[in-house]
Symmetry: C2
Subunit: 232 residues, 2 copies
């Protein structure tokens, strides 16, 4: 691991409160590794050997059953993931693959569990982080059960617009195929959804999105802080 990566990682909410010495201890058995796009990091059902942190690139969490596959979430820097499995010493419930060229910190789960047992700063930070992750997942679950596919697309566009500076135009961060799975629909359906949203001022040119009738789109989407606000 490059020494100049460390400060960057130490700044994570997860580690920032730890004593330097404790942090050094945690990280000494860890790897910081580069991956090309499309690499499978782990597969659901495997024992959770590592806790991961994305520091560059993007990671897709996905799950399969019955010949179907769906995306549970997409992680951007800087985010720790698979915390619950690592804490519980249980099998991964999701698989993970890199979407882009990515840089990941891999902390052996046994070491991590050992340290969460003894370092209360760390335990508290992990608890906060996991609580945040839990709430994110509740929102995703609510969205899935309470909204139609078209509403999910509309709200996704509104969230992404806000996230990229509320300029009224932005760039899709992922392939439409992956976006479709994240939104719980087929690529064909997503394409048609974009078509239907034209009358609500949505223009799609490749990955470039323009929202020209925000009001109308919001009337359709009916966003709510209790699903759409990432800080809530």
């Amino acid at each position: 691991m490059r020494p100049d990566d460390l400060p960057h990682i130490k700044d994570l909410p997860l580690f920032s409160e730890m004593e330097e010495e404790r942090f050094a201890q945690l990280v000494e058995g860890a790897f910081l590794q580069n991956f090309p796009p499309g690499v499978e990091l782990f597969s659901e059902g495997e024992p959770a050997d590592f806790l991961y942190v994305v520091t560059e690139g993007h990671v897709e969490l996905y799950a399969s059953a019955n010949n179907r596959e769906t995306v549970i979430g997409i992680l951007e820097p800087v985010t720790a993931f698979i915390l619950a499995a690592a804490v519980s010493d249980a099998p991964y419930l999701m698989s993970a693959r890199t979407l882009d060229k990515s840089r990941l910190l891999m902390i052996p789960a046994s070491k991590f569990r050992e340290m969460t047992g003894s370092d209360s700063q760390l335990t508290t930070a992990v608890l906060r982080e996991l609580a945040k992750g839990y709430r994110t997942l509740v929102k995703a679950h609510k969205e899935m059960k309470l909204r139609t596919a078209l509403e999910r697309v509309a709200n996704y566009l509104l969230r992404e617009n806000k996230r990229q500076g509320s300029a009224g135009h932005f760039v899709l961060q992922h392939d439409k195929r992956i976006l479709a799975a994240l939104l719980g629909m087929t690529p064909e359906n997503l394409s048609r959804a974009f078509g239907s949203l034209q009358e609500y001022g949505v223009t799609v040119e490749g990955t470039r999105i323009t929202l020209s009738k925000l009001k109308d789109l919001e009337t359709l989407a009916k966003p709510t802080t209790l699903i759409d606000d990432p800080d809530y």
Copy 2:
């Protein structure tokens, strides 16, 4: 609060490791209260003032948007709920109501947060409990995105059969209306799903269920530990 309730509660995984004195401190500001069925305990969007523990009865966690309502989970004794909101000092993302006559421990969230900051036994226990809750939710989310309504019903029946002793017959624990919402479908559809499952050996007489062709039902349902095993 009745003094003889305390030992019962102290036995919760959440509290069992705490020192007696700390536990007394936590519980001194708490209420242990009886509720009739159908009482709304709190509503999504409200600040999380209490952490709850069901000690008797059943509690339904539900959420609304757009005139739609869905059930996120149903809790039985003895379970702490709404941990993430209490930890995060954030608004509830779900509403809760009693389904039966119920007995609930209500711990002021501020007190709870205060103590998780200072008692590392408690912090660790909360972390474990929350990690378990997170994994339960991941399973629910996967089920929702990866299975059809009929498959969800079939798998629910298999899980419930196992939970009630694998006798091949058992009793539905909730109104079919509520069960339908939990499974992400309408009551009409659940009724029809039961009809379709007759050819797989499923008999429904009121709340009494009999499974006479387990093999066939499993062939249809394709249960997997990574969704259906509560201990995984």
